[in-house]
């Protein structure tokens, strides 16, 4: 349990878990405006197209331009958003005064130049995570965002995810009690390859398998999950170590398809992380183990598993439960009050929208309402630095100390 946050949180809420009524947990209404935010999409690969689909649900935003240096991807983007004007060069998009904001969904190693140029052009920017492919690039983007008048949000979606926000409220309110250890994984059986057509395009599209620019599974996937713990604990690992290898996809690649690593915090708590492209069992999750309960987060779902000797709280009588082999999990439901009043609590299991939607909704809300972004550049930088260092520790096969100066801006 976060030694800093629990006390201050308890003070704010006036007590422990009993002070948490279901009424506090409603989903926020989507942002509203008479003049929708005009968005330029930069990068319309798979993630960019998923972003397009979610932006379409937001009345307060309209995608007016799409940009991709790859002609086939640009055409695929146009097919999905025919009203948007296609542009091959992102600089032309940034020069356009009729665009309020950009969403950057290019390969990670290309973020730096685009993000810095977007900030300089006065555009609000949502930049996919990890923030960049090197520590230096992460810091350069953070430096550019510092003091800028425009909104800069990093796509570490957990911070906008209502289930994760709700679970964090429980975590900070003492229901987990003393933190014991942490675990996370992402398992997916996939080659991580994209068909390219020509050797040149194949190499360009498969940047995640290119040792020159890739930050591997720890950087590309781990960053998103490590950030959950940074956000919950309000602290960062002090040392990282791990190993990995190519366990299945022996197609000439050198980027590991399977990794396991330990991220150690100053109090001795260890986050064990495992990621593989060779097996899909149990997918993706993060778990925080405490002396009173464990909280398991599965992106669209969250559960709390209480210890037998943990105090019983009144709200539990309303709770929905799910059985996991020998354990019973209390489902964490984000808009429980409204659903409970309608007798539909069970239908509230899982998010009403994909997690990505909430990150974009928060971005648009920040632009319209002037509220701080859920994940500003410096938070994105710190999570990305941890991901990059973990990848480095795995590649070098040694323990790396996380120098505090690395987590600060220039």
């Amino acid at each position: 349990m976060s030694h800093i946050d629990r006390r201050s949180f308890m003070k704010r809420t006036g007590g422990g878990i009993a002070a948490l009524s279901l009424a506090e947990l409603a989903l926020a209404a989507p942002p509203q405006t008479d003049t929708p935010i005009r968005i330029g999409m930069i990068g319309v690969g798979r993630q960019g197209r998923a972003i397009l689909a979610e932006l379409q649900k937001l009345d307060a935003a309209t995608v007016t331009h799409i940009c991709d240096s790859d002609e086939r991807r640009l055409n695929a983007g146009v097919r999905r958003a025919p009203e948007a004007k296609p542009i091959a060069d992102y600089r032309a998009l940034l020069d356009n005064g009729a665009i309020d904001a950009v969403v950057i969904a290019t390969p990670t190693h290309l973020h730096r130049a685009i993000a810095i140029d977007a900030i300089a052009a006065g555009k609000h920017a949502y930049c996919e995570a990890p923030l960049a492919g090197t520590i230096e690039d992460c810091k350069a983007i953070t430096e550019a965002a510092r003091g800028a008048q425009s909104v800069f949000q990093v796509g570490l979606q957990a911070r906008s995810n209502p289930v994760y926000q709700l679970a964090r409220t429980f975590f900070l309110s003492d229901s987990v009690r003393d933190l014991v250890c942490l675990r996370a994984q992402r398992h997916r059986k996939t080659t991580w390859r994209t068909p390219g057509g020509s050797p040149e395009r194949e190499k360009r599209l498969n940047w995640r398998l290119d040792p020159e620019v890739s930050i591997g599974l720890a950087g590309e996937w781990g960053t998103h999950q490590f950030d959950v713990f940074h956000w919950y604990l309000d602290r960062y690992p002090v040392r990282v170590r791990g190993g990995g290898g190519v366990r299945l996809h022996r197609d000439g690649r050198t980027i590991h398809d399977t990794i396991a690593c330990d991220l150690e915090f100053a109090d001795g708590a260890i986050l064990q992380y495992q990621a593989t492209l060779a097996n899909s069992y149990d997918g993706r999750y993060e778990v925080l183990y405490g002396s009173n309960a464990a909280i398991k987060l599965g992106w669209s779902h969250g559960w709390m598993f209480k210890e037998a000797d943990a105090p019983t709280q009144g709200w539990e009588v309303y709770a929905n439960r799910q059985q996991f082999h020998n354990d019973e999990g209390i489902t964490l439901i984000a808009d429980a009050t409204q659903l409970a009043s309608q007798g539909k609590l069970k239908e509230g299991v899982g998010l009403p929208q994909p997690s990505l939607y909430y990150g974009l909704e928060d971005f648009v809300r920040s632009i319209i309402e002037g509220s701080p972004p859920t994940c500003p550049a410096d938070e994105g930088m710190r999570a990305s630095v941890i991901g990059i260092l973990t990848n480095q520790a795995i590649l070098e096969g040694r323990t790396l100390e996380v120098d505090e100066s690395l987590l600060k801006g220039h």
């Binding site: 798979r46 397009l52 689909a53 379409q56 649900k57 086939r72 097919r79 999905r80 958003a81 025919p82 996939t190 080659t191 390859r193 994209t194 068909p195 057509g197 197609d251 669209s300 539909k344 069970k346 239908e347 509230g348 299991v349 899982g350 998010l351 009403p352 929208q353 994909p354």
Partner: protein
Amino acid sequence: MGTRFEVVVGGDDEVHLRTAAEAALDEIALWDERLSLFRRDSLLSHINRSAANQPVRLDPDTFALFAACRQVSLASQGAFDPTVAPLMTRFGLHPDRSDSIAEPLIGMQHVILDDSARSIQFTSTEVALDLGGIAKGHALDLAAACLRESNVSTALVHGGTSSIITIGSPPGCDGWPIRIAHIDEPFTVELRDAAMSISSPTGRMLDTEGESHGHIIDPRHGAPSRSASLAATIGPSARDADAWSTALLVLGTLPTALPAELTAMVFSGDRRLIDGPLVSTLLRMSDTPPMEPEPCLTSTVAPS
């Protein structure tokens, strides 16, 4: 879509083929996420929750899917109708859903598709959509497009063996041999650059109020369909084949409005041909099992 999808691709470059097959399966998984009635965060659930209150904007592919729903519903005089969702829930075909609409409005006239705004809206909160009769075909069409984009020239993709799309043919064959069973005289169809859909109420049986019935509900009468035992459609689009095989099973006959590009057959309760061509250039009668193609690669996915 609650079923297993499989891709078989042929060629020389296994790394490329696996990558291409994976992209096709990713496309299917994407549409499963978007069109599932059982995922709270799917686009379809979003539409079912929101479209009675305000129009929901759609991307061109999704709008084309709903436009196809409207077209087949109109041509089949309501035998195919995605507004059947509340009836499906009532007949226990949505076991994970506890919500119910007491007096549902059935019929695509309650669904407003605005072609210029590319949006969908319901006329009432008593409307809900289930795309079970067309989603697999839609996903297969787009998966096949992915494979073609990756220059794959030999492929078969199927969802639950009842919806199939093919590209080219396996080495040494004129087409992909597909056997249609569970009828009086089973036969083999050879598909080449074509799609096929089979609908049968016996694919999944349920007991309601002591009576056993299949999983196809006749939207016109609000009751399980008993007109036919099997309907098969073959045509260029898996989406259209899928929707029409459902419609034909409910109709029990081939309507004059059946699109000319579709070859279709309907079989009776005693498994005999009611309507449709016995053999066309696409069909080859056979008492023997079809040849098993030798795939260079098989990939699978089973979206839940």
